[in-house]
Amino acid sequence: MPRLLVGPFNRVEGDLEVTLDVQQGRVASAHVNSTMYRGFEQILQDKQPHDALVFVPRICGICSVSQSVAAARALADLGSIEVPPNGQIVTNFILATENLADHLMHFYVFFMPDFTHASYARHAWHGEAVARFAPQTGSQTRAATAARQRWFTLLGTLAGKWPHTQCIEPGGSTRAVDAAERIRLLAKVREFRGFLESQLFAAPLEFISSLDSEAALLRWLAEDPLKGDLRMFLTLAQDTGLRHLGPGPGRYLSYGAYPQPGAGFAFAPGVWHAATQTLNAVDAQAIREDATHAWLSDSGGPRHPIQGITQPEPDKPAAYTWNKAPRLDGAVLETGAIARQLASAHPLVRELVGSYGGTVFTRVVARLLELARVVPLMEQWLMQLRPGEAFCVPAQLPSEGTGVGLSEAARGSLGHWMTVQGGRIASYQIVAPTTWNFSPRDAAGTPGALEQALVGAPVLEGETTPVAVQHIVRSFDPCMVCTVH
C-alpha cells in the first residue's frame, strides 16, 4: 500500500505531520503526528499556583486567552472564589474577542486559500477565489486581516495586549471599565459587525442566526450565489463535495461557553450523539488520557487528568506522536464550534449534521454561524456592565487542594486540572481541543477524530500534499502547540 508522508502542514497553529496509507486513490488509514514537545505540564510543577497565569497563556499564541481562562477557573475552583458579575462579563467578552478573531482568521487566512490552488484552475469560480483569497494579495484576505487588527484593539483597552495578557484573574479582570469606555468599546464591536455584515455575510447577523434549515440556507444562497464570502463558500462547497468530505466520529463535546453571572451558559454544555440525536450531560470524571501511542509514559494505563502524568519517552516503540489520546467513557469525541452549536440546539447545525455528519462543510458553517451569534451577545454584555462596581476580587488560595477549569476555546473544549500541595503546584494537566480532535490511536487501537475523518479522502494522481486532506485537516482549525503543550 503506497504511503504518503505529508508535512510540514502549515496554516494550522503549530507543527503537524500526517502519514497516509493510500489505496485506489483514497486514504485507507491515517496516523497523525504532533511533531513538537515543549513540556508545560512539567514546567508548571513546583511553581506557585498563581504563577500559572503567566505560563499557560504562553502555551499558545492564537488562543492564549482560552488558556488563561481555564487556568483562572482552576484557581477559582481551588480557592472557592466567586467572580463578581462585571469580572465574569469582561472575561467572557475578552474570550469571545479571541474566539471570534480565531474564526475569522481560520476562514480567511487558514482555510479559504486552499481554493486558490492550481489544482482547482478548471473550476468556473477559481479566478474569483484567487481574487478574494490568495494569500498576501487576495482582496478579502487583506480586508479580513485589517478587520482583525481593528478588532483586537478591544483587547488593547481591556487586556493591555494580545496575545499573552495577564488581565484574567481567578477573581475577575484587572481592568475596570468606566461608562465612557463602554461606549467606545461598543463602537468597535459595531465596526466589526459592519465588516461581517458587508463582507462575510452580505446580510444582517440576526438574519444569519435565524437561518433554521438547509432549505432556508439554500433559498438565501440562490438569491445571489457569490454575494458575500459565506455564499461563495457555500457555492464552492456544493461544487467540490465538501458536504460529505471528512466525516468525524459522530459524538461532540462542549463544556458550555460563556457562563453567565448567576447561572447558565450562553451556549449550553453537553455531549451530542448524532446517531441517536440525543444530548447527554458532560461527565468530566469519565475523561481518560491514553498515552499508548504517544512518546510519553503510559504507566498505569489511561488516567483521569487529575491523576495524569507527563513524562517523555522519546524511544518508546509503537508511539508516533507527542499527543495523548483523550477519551470520554472510552469514546472518541469531536469538539469545536460544531459541538457548541449542536449542544446549544441551533436548528440549522443540528439539521446539517443530521444529514451529512460532522464534515468539512458543517464544521465551517458552524464556525461562521458562531460569528453571527456571538457579536450581538457581546453588544449586550457591554451594556450589562455596571461601572463603579467591582471587576475583580482578590484571590486567597489554599496551600492544599485541587482545581478544575473548563472552558471553550474557538477550537473546542479545553480543560485544566491542578493539584496543589504545600503551596506549590504538584500536578498540572491540560487537555486541549486539538488533543481531542487530533488524538492518536488509543490502547484499543481506535483512531482519533481526524484519523477517522481522513479515511476515504481522495488522493489525486501526483499529489504529494493532497488538497482534500488539507481541507479536512484545516476544517478542524487545529492548534498543535496547545495540543502537545
Binding site: 497553529e13 505560563f55 494569500p135 493591555g160 475583580c392
Partner: protein
C-alpha cells in the same frame, strides 16, 4: 519602492514557541499588512501562517536555500530551539522531513544575510526554557543572558551582524516590522543593537516611560490587589522601571500596555524573565524595601525619596491607588492655572 519587485527575501520559521509572535505581527498598526511589506521591498518567501505552499513545496524551497540556489536575506526564527533529548533535537522534528528543526536552522543560518530571533524564546530560550528545561531549549545565540545558544557566541551572519534579538513575549509587531524594514533598506548596523543584540530603537527605552500610573509612582501610592489603580512596583511585582522596552509609549493593540490593563510588567523582553525567583505578581523585598529598584537609582536615595513622597501623598492619590476607579476626582477650581 512602490511597484518595484520586492527584493528582500524573508523566510519565517517556527520552533519551540507558541506562534504568538506571528499572531502579534498580524496585529500591526496598518490597514494593509501585506501592502506594507511590499512597499518596503520585502518579499515573504514563506511564513507558516499565511503562505499557500505546504509540504513538499516548502521542503524544496528550504533545500534550494541550503544549496545556495535561492537568496535568503533574513532568516526569522520564532520559538526556542529544542536541543533535547540528549542533543538530538528530536523534541522538534520539522514535519515531513525526519530532520530536527535545529539542524535545518543551522544550515539555513549559514546562508542567511541576516538572522533574526523573533521573540524572547528565539532570543534567549524564553518561557520554553522555564522549569528544569527538560527540552534543553535555548535561543539562537543565547540561553538566558549567557552567549552561546544554538549557533554559538561567535556566530555572525553573512552581513557580519550577530543574531538580532527582537525580544518580547510576544514581541511587538512594530518592533519586528521596523527592524525588517531597516534591514531591507540597509539602514541597520551593529551600533543599532544593544549589548544583548536587541534593536536599540526600543531597547534603549524603559517600560516605565509613559506609564499612566506615574503620579502614583511619584508618591509611592501603591496598588495592593489586582485591578487597583496605584503603582504596581511596591507590592505587585512590576518591573517597569528596570525593563528595556517602549511598551508605554509604543502602545499595543491600539492603546494597551500591561500596566495600563492593571497587571505588572514581568520583564518579558529580558533574558531569564521566565524564572524570576519570586512569584511574578509579588514584589520581592528586603527589610520592607523592594529589591529591584529603578534602574540608575541609588538605594539610599530611593528610600529617602519614597519616605518623603509617601508623607506628602495627596488624599486623592492615596485613596484612588487602592480602588479600581476614581473615588476622589481632581478638584475643579475657579482659577487660571499658574
Amino acid at each position: 519602492m512602490s511597484g518595484a519587485t520586492p527584493a528582500f527575501n524573508v523566510l519565517w520559521l517556527q520552533s519551540g514557541g507558541c506562534g504568538g509572535c506571528s499572531m502579534s505581527l498580524l496585529c500591526a498598526d496598518t490597514t494593509d499588512f501585506h501592502g506594507q511589506l511590499r512597499q518596503a521591498g520585502i518579499n515573504l518567501l514563506w511564513h507558516p501562517s499565511i503562505s499557500l505552499q505546504s509540504g513538499r513545496e516548502l521542503v524544496d524551497m528550504l533545500q534550494a536555500i541550503v544549496d545556495g540556489q535561492l537568496r535568503l536575506d533574513a532568516l526569522c526564527i520564532e520559538g526556542a530551539l529544542l536541543r533535547g533529548p540528549h542533543g538530538t533535537g528530536r523534541f522538534h522534528m520539522l514535519a515531513g522531513t525526519g530532520i530536527p528543526m535545529t539542524h535545518w536552522v543551522q544550515q539555513l543560518a549559514a546562508q542567511a544575510r541576516h538572522v533574526v530571533a523573533v521573540g524572547s524564546c528565539a532570543a534567549w530560550g524564553g518561557i520554553t526554557a522555564a522549569g528544569d528545561n527538560l527540552t534543553d531549549a535555548c535561543g539562537l545565540q543565547y540561553l538566558d543572558a549567557t552567549p552561546g545558544g544554538l549557533l554559538g557566541a561567535a556566530f555572525r551572519s553573512r552581513s557580519g551582524l550577530p543574531v538580532i534579538n527582537i525580544a518580547g513575549c510576544p514581541t511587538h509587531p512594530s518592533w519586528v516590522l521596523d527592524s525588517l524594514m531597516a534591514l531591507a533598506a540597509n539602514g541597520f548596523t551593529e551600533a543599532d543593537l544593544d549589548t544583548l543584540g536587541r534593536p536599540r530603537f526600543y531597547a534603549d527605552q524603559l517600560v516605565h516611560h509613559g506609564c499612566t500610573r506615574n503620579e502614583y509612582y511619584e508618591y509611592k501610592a501603591s496598588a495592593e490587589k489586582p485591578s487597583d489603580l496605584g503603582c504596581m512596583m511596591e507590592h505587585m511585582g512590576c518591573k517597569g522601571t528596570q525593563v528595556h522596552a517602549d511598551c508605554n509609549t509604543r502602545l499595543w493593540n491600539g492603546e494597551g500596555s500591561c500596566t495600563r490593563a492593571g497587571y505588572a510588567c514581568i520583564a518579558c523582553t529580558e533574558p531569564g524573565f521566565q524564572e524570576p525567583g519570586h512569584p511574578f505578581h509579588e514584589t520581592p523585598k528586603f527589610a520592607g524595601i523592594p529589591i529591584g529598584l529603578p534602574t540608575d537609582m541609588p538605594k539610599a536615595w530611593f528610600v529617602a525619596l519614597a519616605s518623603l513622597s509617601k508623607s506628602a501623598t495627596p488624599k486623592r492619590v492615596k485613596v484612588n491607588a487602592v480602588a479600581d476607579h476614581l473615588v476622589v476626582k481632581p478638584v475643579a477650581r475657579k482659577t487660571t492655572l499658574k
